[in-house]
């Protein structure tokens, strides 16, 4: 576990040492504030739900940008070799990288805390939905990062990793939004596809509901894609 944490810390440091991180932080902060002010004003409902629902869409492009270099950079520069010969398992490498990226993602959500302070100053928000919404946002981010980690482990090219991640995320969002509306699919298939839609799974969190089925979806999805990433890394040994 300490090796995983060490890798995570190293990854987090390298993310924060890059100037791009602060550009991303700044832009994300600005976007968050813009979305927030779209729904904020005298008489408006004192909640973060619309802001969180807007951020979910933003994360489709933001998170792949964070995850694209996690392993691709190492594969391209050859630093993956020492990493793979070091006394760490592939699982520890993957999970460590993912955790580091999660730490960076969590720091991106700092502007939301500032907005919460504004809301508290001008209203009396219900913190239940705020808390569950933040948990949901982290879970969505965690899933997207897991997908990104897998994509990053698949290729040396960061852009390709970025595109693969976006592609898979779009399958789980846009496709799973429109397909259940198709007339040619049976009700069972429609239900299954509706279930796979990430936005649908996030909806309960944004309302203030904690549903164990949503947790199962996200956690199992994260584990599945990290598993794929591990297998992808392992395959380098015997390819």
């Amino acid at each position: 576990m300490s090796k995983t944490i060490a890798i995570a810390k190293r990854e987090l440091s390298s993310l924060f040492f890059s100037p791009i991180a602060y550009v991303v932080l700044g832009l994300f902060g600005l976007s968050t504030v813009l979305i927030f002010f779209n729904n904020f004003g005298a008489g408006a409902v004192a909640e973060l739900r619309p802001t969180l629902e807007g951020l979910i869409w933003l994360m489709i492009f933001l998170v792949p940008a964070i995850s694209m270099r996690l392993l691709s950079e190492e594969l391209r520069s050859g630093t993956i070799e020492p990493l793979m010969t070091a006394p760490v398992t592939d699982i520890q490498v993957i999970v460590g990288k993912w955790l580091g990226a999660m730490g960076f993602l969590a720091s991106l959500l700092a502007p939301l805390l500032v907005l919460l302070v504004v809301l508290e100053f001008y209203a009396d928000p219900d913190y239940g939905p705020v808390f569950s919404g933040l948990v949901g946002l982290l879970l969505v981010g965690g899933l997207y990062l897991a997908i990104g980690t897998f994509a990053s482990a698949s290729t040396q090219n960061q852009i390709i990793a970025f595109l693969i991640t976006i592609f898979i995320i779009c399958l789980l969002t846009f496709l799973m939004y429109f397909l259940p509306r198709a007339e040619f699919l049976g009700p069972g298939m429609k239900d299954a596809m509706h279930y796979l839609n990430v936005n649908h799974q996030f909806e309960d969190f944004s309302k203030g509901l904690i549903d164990t089925s949503n947790f199962v979806y996200f956690i199992s999805g994260i584990i599945l894609f990290l598993f794929f990433a591990v297998k992808m890394l392992e395959s380098r040994r015997w390819r």
């Binding site: 550009v23 600005l30 813009l34 008489g43 409902v45 809301l119 219900d126 009700p187 199992s220 297998k231």
Partner: protein, 704 residues
Amino acid sequence: MASITGSSDTQNTRRVKFGLNVAVAIVAAISITVLLNWIGYRQYLRFDLTATRKYSLSDQTRKVLQQLEGDYRIVTMLPPGDARMDPRLASIIQQAHDVTDEYARRTDSITVQHLNPGAEISRIETLYESLGKQFKENLRPLEEAVTEGRSVTNVVRDKAIQLVEPLQKLLEHNSLAEGDLKDFILSVARFFARFGPELEVQDEQIQRALDGPLPNYGAAKSTLADLLGGLDSGVFEKAIDYFKNASKDPQTPDSIKEQLLELVARFTPLQRQIRATKIKLDSTESVDDYDTLLRQLSNPQKVVIVGPGQVQVVALDELFRQPDQAMVQPGQIPELRFQGEEKITGALVSMSMENPPLIVFVHAGPRSAIGFGGAYQQVARRLESINFKVEQWNPMGRQGPMGRPMPAGPEPEPEPGQKAVWIVLPQPPPNPQNPMAAIGAQQVPEAIQRRLDNGDGVMFLLGYNPMSFMGGGEAISKMISPFGITAQMDRAVLQEVRGQGRQMLATARFEISQWPNQTPMTKALGGLRGMFELPSPLEVAKSDDSDVWPLVKIRKSRLWAENRLQGNPRPEYDEAKAADSFLIAAAAQKNKTRIVVTTASHNLGTGARAWASDQMTNYGPFGPGTGEVLGSLWPANAELFVNCVLWLTGHEELIAASARSQDIRRVKDITPQAMVGLRWILMPGLPIAAFAAGIGVWLTRRKT
């Protein structure tokens, strides 16, 4: 030394082995993930973290959903919220979406679909088509009658065109002199000449009514019936009569007579055909349920609940209650009270009822209780909206044409197994001009006693009546006393208040907002305001075989029950008749029979308004008749009436808890300057803070 080829084979074998291993592992991982999700979907826990538990369905709803049989579909057709919408309405719509999603979560019997009425037109039409299919068989006679009607009008049009020429020839005939006959023939000729284009316009109107997934056969039928009726009585009948009379006129030349009779011979079969078709149209019954559905669906914003063989529609404005007007502070924007869950659950329950109860208003007097012009229309409509069958019965007969008294209609009879509730409205005093009334006055208590003995529920709406020993008052007292209730109808509850000019006055108007909570009927009133005028006190006696619960209690200072109001315009406070509180409405149950006794209903021209009549339930901020649209000033009156009927029918599950407490937390007043300031601070502020943090980290790294 191993050969190179051998080494390569070993490598390939290893690759295949590893590859298979990975493939199997991936399949296993995916299978486990699918299985876990399937289990998680079926077995789950749900925690509502909102302050008011607004996504948690009430126990009542959950019970209803557990017992629901068959497949139901809830389709919301509500517009998505946008900046232009009233934010309160946007909240209501969001809650409607969220609550209906919860329904689908709780039971497999319900599927939920959200449609945008402005954007998803084709999907809405598909839904309407599926709704229309339920009525296909019932609509067939009407469809056939309309089709036949249209075909006959086309035949008439074609024949009318052919008739123009002989009419024209007749007009040009030398023997036809100027005069009324010629003018008439000219008008007929002109009518037939323009009939074709006019009929096309009418036909387009009919076609428009029939276009779409839910054809409006009712509208098409009435347009056709009007058209054919006009042709029959307004054209052909007149023309035939006129020509016949003209042909008998000795002053009409023989050649003209001949032609007129020829025209009559051609007109007559057409008229017969038109008449027969009109009769068929008139005799073809409309499908009331279908027409009701069309009317309800004409509202673009609604929730449609489709059940086995039934459809119910809840309009957007039924999803919320208007705020209590008097509780609104000046300048305050009051929240709308969401009651969508109550309405939707109510609709589900009423749709799943196998034998909806029969509610009969037993009324006397010339004014009807329900229907057009009825005194209790609003509450009757509320009961009809939950699928109850509502009828009225006037055992005293009614006024017929020319003021002659007519005998009463037959007493409504519930079907076998159907629960019935009888609403006994106050009876008028005996009227010597209407002898039937005296017979009817005896019939009411007899009929109601029979119904009570049968186990039906009865609601007595009693009114102050100083001569209550007459006109059936004693008989009604005998019916309610076994339940432990005595109504002192010769007394009126009054309160001494200080009037303008500081003089003391007596008032008989009582506004109530605190309700006893021993019964579901009043628990559900949760702070709603009610108004009761000229009530009379009830006394309750404890009994071993009956239970009595208070429904409305007046608790005010300086109250007394006066029994000498007649000829006493300024009654004075009487300590001997005073009490801290008076009970004016109560519910009772003996064995399985239930009754509700209320006072403050009048039929004596006292000027006071009966508490459940439209005069009270539909009294809004701008006076009578404005309550339905703008919110009743006394919403508790209608709610209490409906809740009592529900209790009497044994359908307590339809008595909803009060509309959810609205804890919508809104942003307080924020000045435009403050908004601008916030934007200026946060929009550049956060990015600048991020960049500053980056620069800080970079500088720190440089130093180290």
